[in-house]
Symmetry: C2
Subunit: 367 residues, 2 copies
DNA sequence: CTGAAAGCGCTAACAA
DNA sequence: TTGTTAGCGCTTTCAG
């Protein structure tokens, strides 16, 4: 089926292109009969509008995608954003445009920013809901007015959002459990250091780990689950206390990104490499702890890939009418010492982030 | 800085838009002085081409990409092909077209098929050289006549090919060594079962493993390196002999795809889960051996991702003038029991391969 | 209700 | 070496 445009349709229908346009866009001033006739023909010949032409004619991108994620740099969200932008860049000639309205931090001024983006003329909104509850009305409203909402990394599962893209937190925890369990002798005691358990993500990771650790380590025990927060000093202290209280600990799973205080604590106890430490995510500060064996493995959420994928879902939906899956989980990456050099995340990259990240072609992941 | 087009530049430079176009694109038939003057103005006013207009004007670029890889189904190459096709599909509206000339098996009739594709009017050729030596003249000839050649999965490093996309075999071996070494006690003895060592890929994996195993397992020893071939019976027999001869073996690394005979041998010795088995790749037959613990982990080359990436490199090169990197290595995936459900590779998928794989959005990988 | 025609910014073919 | 012009496919305005 070769490409047909409105001219061809006009010819087939014996009308002018103006009429075809009116039919195709449900505009006024056209009789119901001709409209139906034209729509039928368009359907039959598989008409697909040329978005470049539309964009050119309208003087603006044919498709606008709003993006509302934190702007924090050298960081998880930075990579997420780069994934989205790098991918969007590729579809520019097709008339895809990004309207980027960042928040300063996850959840900060979120409501306002989202409301702001929604006031623009967008077809899709991609966001990381830091405070899902608060956003539900806005999200629902958007979906009502035919804006597809895609949540990345974190979900607003109570809302009417079309899609969630991210890693399955439960599976992350389970993978950590397997890595830990298989590395340790039977009957080993391990502990989890997590973030606020009221956050769905942390709870699921912790649960996944707790449930599956005994399956992978015969008679293994999860001795403690410690709730740390983002504060470094607190993390260090809690971890130290843990290590002191349970000298028999053989493994530690840190389910939040904030693993540095834990690394330092382990090191300060002279336990680098003795206590198996499995962390989450990946950033430059972690490199030395891989090198000295403090970190055994890290489970990486691949934000760049998440960004790419959410954008691709949007584009495939808009351009090819692909249905949006209600969720899209990607496989977490196991990062170890030997593969560390492959990850640009650990390199302290400088200014030209986007530039370089568009070189970084791809980071895709199977369903 | 509001948007300026070539008209505005032409006005500023007191020339016609044709001249501006020539300057901007380094075309012939323009004096060096005016070119510089125009470029300077363009720079000053921050000229950004309107990509939609360009796309429209150039019409669908009608880019043809030749693909010459084996057609074997339910298999590694099958996924590679699907990655290419799924990705190509996405760029159809940009005028990308695939000419698929499969070989029956890796290396079979390769020369003829490649010659055949090259006779078509293609701008890029993507292939898996099964017999690199033999193809060198053809590849060089292609590059000479301005056809960019991209090798996927296997390389023809002696040739003038533009790019190689694949996993770093040495790193695969090294990762296997780390997984193995860290899982075992010091002084453990392990062995490698590999394919023909004259194949570069097998040699590099084996070397990577051999060199790094002692680093990750104190005083660990690689007791034996066994060269098996594709034959199942031979594999089973050699592995059995190995296990019999070295009852102290604690680990086994299979660096070829053909791991099933090894799995069976291990199982028949009642060693499932006792001998740490690390395999390569992923296909449906392996699932049960993950479940009973025979396979400890597998290192997956992600053919789907390789396919996607090679196509994207081609597209980015053709459409956005991105330079082709001389090589693009992707991180191998560690597949373990807990993450197995995430991999569609192990599911015996039926007919509609391409259909489903286009749903499978992405599998990208960082540089 | 429908048709005709003018552009959107750029490329490319042809004139000068 | 430079200028002119005809589209690319679509939206939009203005006539019928």
């Amino acid at each position: 089926m070769k490409k047909v445009g409105i001219h061809e349709i006009a010819r087939l229908a014996q009308v002018s292109i103006g009429t075809v346009d009116r039919a195709l866009h449900g505009r006024k001033r056209i009789s119901e009969t001709t409209r139906r006739r034209i729509l039928e023909i368009a359907e039959r010949v598989g008409y697909k509008p040329n978005l470049a032409a539309r964009a050119l004619s309208q003087g603006q991108a044919a498709v606008q995608i709003g993006v509302c994620i934190p702007r924090e740099i050298h960081n998880y969200f930075d990579q997420l954003r780069n994934g989205i932008l790098a991918e969007a860049h590729r579809f520019e000639p097709l008339g895809i445009e990004i309207l980027y309205h960042p928040t300063e931090r996850l959840g900060e001024n979120e409501r306002e920013r989202v409301a702001q983006v929604l006031r623009e003329d967008i077809q899709v909104l991609i966001l990381t809901p830091g405070n899902p509850q608060q956003l539900i009305p806005l999200i629902n409203e958007a979906e009502q007015s035919n804006i597809r909402v895609i949540c990345v990394d974190t979900d607003a599962s109570q809302s009417a959002r079309s899609t969630m893209v991210g890693v399955d937190a439960g599976m992350s925890g389970r993978l950590a459990a397997e890595l830990m369990g298989k590395f340790l002798r039977p009957r080993s005691e391990v502990a989890v250091i997590t973030g606020m358990l009221q956050t769905e993500d942390h709870r699921n990771k912790t649960e996944g780990f707790r449930l599956f650790f005994p399956r992978y380590c015969a008679n293994g025990q999860v001795t403690a689950i410690v709730e740390a927060h983002d504060d470094d000093a607190e993390g260090f202290q809690k971890c130290s206390a843990l290590l002191k209280k349970h000298p028999s600990l053989k493994g530690l799973y840190v389910s939040t990104a904030n693993c540095l205080p834990v690394c330092r604590a382990i090191r300060s106890f002279g336990l680098a490499g003795k206590v198996r430490l499995i962390t989450t995510d990946l950033f430059p500060g972690m490199a030395p702890f891989f090198d000295d064996g403090t970190i055994f493995a890290s489970i990486h959420g691949r934000p760049f890939a998440q960004g790419q994928i959410s954008l691709r879902l949007a584009v495939d939906h808009l351009l090819h009418q692909h249905p949006l899956p209600s969720s899209y989980f990607l496989t977490p990456q196991v990062v170890m010492h030997s593969t560390l050099p492959m990850f640009s995340e650990i390199r302290e990259s400088s200014a030209s982030e986007i530039k370089s990240s568009s070189l970084r072609l791809a980071d895709l992941e199977q369903v």
